[in-house]
């Protein structure tokens, strides 16, 4: 359940481009004006490649202006295990990540309106330790689910994660059960739960709250997986299909209801919520 080393964006920024008004699409390699790229919500205007976006960009995209109230913004990771690896202390890594990303955890949670309709929402950010599911992440997603139950709101969770956070050991694995226990309350109370899977949604996150939406939506081309591609290749010692573990592959096999372009996401969520008649 690892996260991936570097985002495409980081690679691109550190990479070969000399003129920084241009960006190159990692998929079709077209050169696109950066401004155009951003105006198009980090989606390639040529090939529809959906690049990763920050939780703040996503929030602005989905929630009506000036309606969002954040819940538990101060929750940060805690280094309960005093974890040290080959490269250093987890504690230092947390501090550095908070400073770099200006985020406190790998998810922001809160409530707000979508086209005037109140919802509870959780948005993950891959830049924060690979969007990994730590205790703080689980706690925030769990608390937002509790908020939705308490206030009879639909709950929307947007995932972007490499899986459970190794540096928090078993407490991280237990967040899979904890978040699902929170979502189970929504199901019991007949409240809508929409899960949106973005690139990437894997490991312990795909095997918990991300996969149990009443409606599971994904962005085009998103990597959605349980086990890592390399682990599988080593286990079965055969080549995997090209579209293996993509959103399209999962839809084909019955685990995703729909693949929606980023720009249409808000509209489609609202359309679906209109069918909720309780």
């Amino acid at each position: 359940m690892a996260w991936f080393k570097k985002t495409e964006t980081e690679n691109r920024i550190s990479g070969e481009l000399k003129l920084d008004i241009w960006t190159r699409c990692p998929s079709c390699e077209s050169h696109i004006y950066k401004e155009e790229w951003h105006n198009n919500l980090n989606v390639c205007p040529k090939c529809n490649y959906h690049d990763r976006i920050s939780c703040i960009q996503r929030l602005n995209l989905l929630v009506d202006k000036n309606t969002y109230v954040e819940l538990n913004p101060d929750i940060t990771p805690i280094d309960i295990l005093h974890f040290k690896d080959g490269k250093g202390n987890y504690k230092d890594k947390i501090k550095e990540t908070i400073r770099k990303t200006n985020l406190n955890e790998s998810v922001i949670t809160g409530y707000g309106q979508m086209n005037g309709k109140k919802v509870a929402i959780a948005i993950m950010d891959f830049r924060f330790l690979g969007g990994s599911l730590g205790s703080g992440t689980g706690q925030k997603i769990f608390m937002a689910a509790n908020y939705a139950v308490e206030h009879h709101l639909p709950y929307i969770v947007i995932s972007a994660s490499g899986g459970a956070r190794m540096q928090e050991g078993m407490l991280s694995l237990m967040q899979m059960a904890k978040t699902c226990a929170g979502i189970a309350q929504l199901k019991k109370k007949n409240l809508p739960y929409i899960s949106i899977l973005t690139d990437p949604t894997s490991g312990g996150v795909s095997a918990s709250y991300a996969m149990i939406g009443d409606v599971n939506m994904a962005e085009p081309g998103a990597l959605i997986a349980f086990a890592g591609r390399r682990v599988i290749e080593q286990t079965i010692k055969q080549k995997l299909p090209d579209n293996f573990q993509t959103a399209e592959y999962l839809r084909e096999h019955g685990f995703i209801d729909m693949i929606i372009n980023r720009k249409d996401m808000k509209k489609r969520i609202c359309e679906i919520l209109e069918f909720y008649q309780r």
């Binding site: 359940m1 690892a2 538990n72 101060d74 929750i75 940060t76 990771p77 805690i78 280094d79 309960i80 295990l81 690896d85 080959g86 490269k87 947390i94 501090k95 406190n104 205790s135 703080g136 689980g138 769990f142 459970a164 956070r165 190794m166 928090e168 050991g169 078993m170 407490l171 991280s172 694995l173 237990m174 967040q175 899979m176 059960a177 904890k178 699902c180 226990a181 979502i183 189970a184 199901k187 019991k188 490991g203 312990g204 795909s206 095997a207 918990s208 991300a210 996969m211 149990i212 959605i224 997986a225 349980f226 086990a227 286990t235 055969q238 995997l240 293996f244 096999h253 019955g254 685990f255």
Partner: protein, 319 residues
Amino acid sequence: MDLEFEKPIKEIENKITELKELSIKSKVNFTSEITELEKRCQKQIEEIYSNLTSWQILQIARHPKRPVLQDYIPLIFNNFIELHGDRVYGDDRALIGGFATLDHQKLMLIGHNKGKTVEENVERNFGMAKPEGYRKALRLMKIAEKFNIPIVTFIDTQGAYPGLEAEKRGQAEAIASNLTEMAQIEVPIITLVTGEGGSGGAIGIGVGDVILMLSFSIYSVISPEGCASILWRDAKFAPDAAEALQITAPALLKLKVINEIVKEPIGSAHRNYGETALNIKKCLIKYLQILKSQPVKKLLRRRFELYAQMGNIKSKQGL
């Protein structure tokens, strides 16, 4: 397979065997010497087993002679009526379950089905379940709920099977559904890690009211080898990763991830199946008694609270 750290034990055991053979051959009585050696051997085992590293405990948890589910069933339960299949795709031999009786208590037993021989492990896929295994487990849990009998799960797996077919049939969805449903199942659930509790494949049948571990079992978010190859960039640092991940029963008891440690006999379960099984049996009976008397509402509320406290970080409590 001999464990490296058990060498001193093995040496004394070999001497005992030698002496016994010699006493038969030479017709000389070595009884007192043998008794002395046996005492020394016992002391050596106690000493070694009370000072194990996490990595060594992992080797014990994976020991090929360590009892598996099929060893425990006749030692703990009066009968076992196996139920097969997920009603959708097939019957996973890596994860099995059925009706079982413990003393007089009827229950649903579900567990990873590791083997001990090559043939068994091929048939049972080394206890690494596929989606159909997790879906069968859920089907059985629903039966338990309907029949109003408690559920006991035995965890012993490296992890859920990482294969093409497993991904295609929705390994992630199967585990996610189990986690969600198990939070709501209206009968008591007791879960025991007997060997290796490997990640999502373990917790996929591991949500419950009481979580137990055998003394020398382990429970981990990722295998130490996998963790080392990512965070240390080299799998040979697995012993360091094992230590850092805090995967042993005492560490997890301290972190309140588990409720109790079920004691293994001196020198661990593979030296004495009977005593291990008896300790498990006693502990299960104890908790079944406690849980049985709880009304469903209270049971579910307590289960919810148990998970709510796992990594319960309050605002402004962090760094």
